[in-house]
């Protein structure tokens, strides 16, 4: 159940950042990046199938749990290898590592529930449905939306 992002809906309000920090004791794992005046893009863990952070992890703290790239805080020694091994720069180390845990224990991740623009979702079907209907619209309108 990874989080999907539809950046054409993101309004750059950074509510997801605040929500993530609120539920993770001040250190958030989602960052909204602004690309000029074109777009705002929340950047967060992809929960990669072949996760390089888990390969680099020396103590076995980072591991795959189904679709989720899970993190065992008890095992982490704070070597920071995962921080350098993440291709997207979304694992941080501050004495110990911290990363997106998809809000373990909650029904839905806090960022998804909070997003006022519905840009974030955990529903793959919805993400692909939106992309398909956008493509269809683009085809009929000759590029305009």
């Amino acid at each position: 159940m990874p989080v999907y992002i539809d950046i054409s809906r993101c309004i750059g309000c950074r509510s997801c950042e605040v929500a993530c920090q609120r539920v993770h004791g001040g250190s958030g794992h989602i960052n909204v990046h602004f690309v000029g005046d074109q777009a705002s893009v929340p950047i967060f863990c992809h929960h990669c199938e072949q996760a390089s952070c888990t390969m680099a992890c020396f103590s076995g703290a980072l591991h795959k749990e189904g679709e989720r790239t899970a993190f065992d805080v008890e095992k982490c020694i704070g070597c920071g290898l995962c921080h350098l091994a993440c291709p997207f720069g979304v694992v941080w180390t501050n004495k110990i590592a911290h990363k997106c845990d998809l809000c373990e224990g909650r029904a839905q991740p806090a960022c998804v529930v909070t997003c006022p623009a519905n840009a974030l979702s955990t529903d793959f079907q919805q993400a692909s449905r939106r992309a398909r209907s956008r493509a269809a619209r683009a085809a009929t309108l000759g590029g305009r939306r």
Binding site: Q50, G89, G143
Partner: protein, 139 residues
């Protein structure tokens, strides 16, 4: 007492993180990282156990042995030039990841790019894709 093999040390600071008595001191200036092992009399070997490079060994206490120190020049990011890691740590990652994962879809050697620039690159690519999709002409 802890003996350090400077050739194996990654400069990752795990030892300093796990040391219960703060006997391993880290100092970082802009471009350099120094790790200093005070002479400790403890029989604890937490740092030895948790060293990713297996650079540490527990040896009997010796009054005359000098305190050990290792220094690392930090590697600068290829894009923003900020110093973000030690060379042995990056080498270690290059040796653990399969070769096909070390270059991204556009051939960038991302391991040599700092995490902040990696996030920026990801944001720029996603934006490019979105703009492209918006302006896609009908066939």
């Amino acid at each position: 007492m802890i003996k350090v093999d400077a050739g194996l040390c990654l400069g990752c600071l795990s030892c300093s993180n796990v040391c219960p008595s703060q006997n391993i001191v880290r100092t970082e200036t802009g471009k350099m990282r120094y790790i200093h092992w005070k002479k400790c009399k403890e029989e604890c070997d937490l740092c030895v156990e948790f060293c990713p490079g297996h650079a540490l060994t527990l040896v009997p206490f010796d009054e005359n042995a000098p305190e050990s120190e290792v220094s690392f020049e930090l590697v600068a990011c290829k894009i923003c030039k900020s110093c973000y890691a030690t060379e042995p740590m990056l080498r270690r990652i290059e040796s653990t990841l399969p070769a096909n994962m070390q270059k991204d879809s556009e051939g960038l050697e991302w391991i040599r790019v700092c995490p902040l620039c990696r996030r920026n690159i990801e944001a720029e690519r996603a934006t490019r894709q979105m703009v492209l999709a918006r302006s896609r002409k009908s066939p």
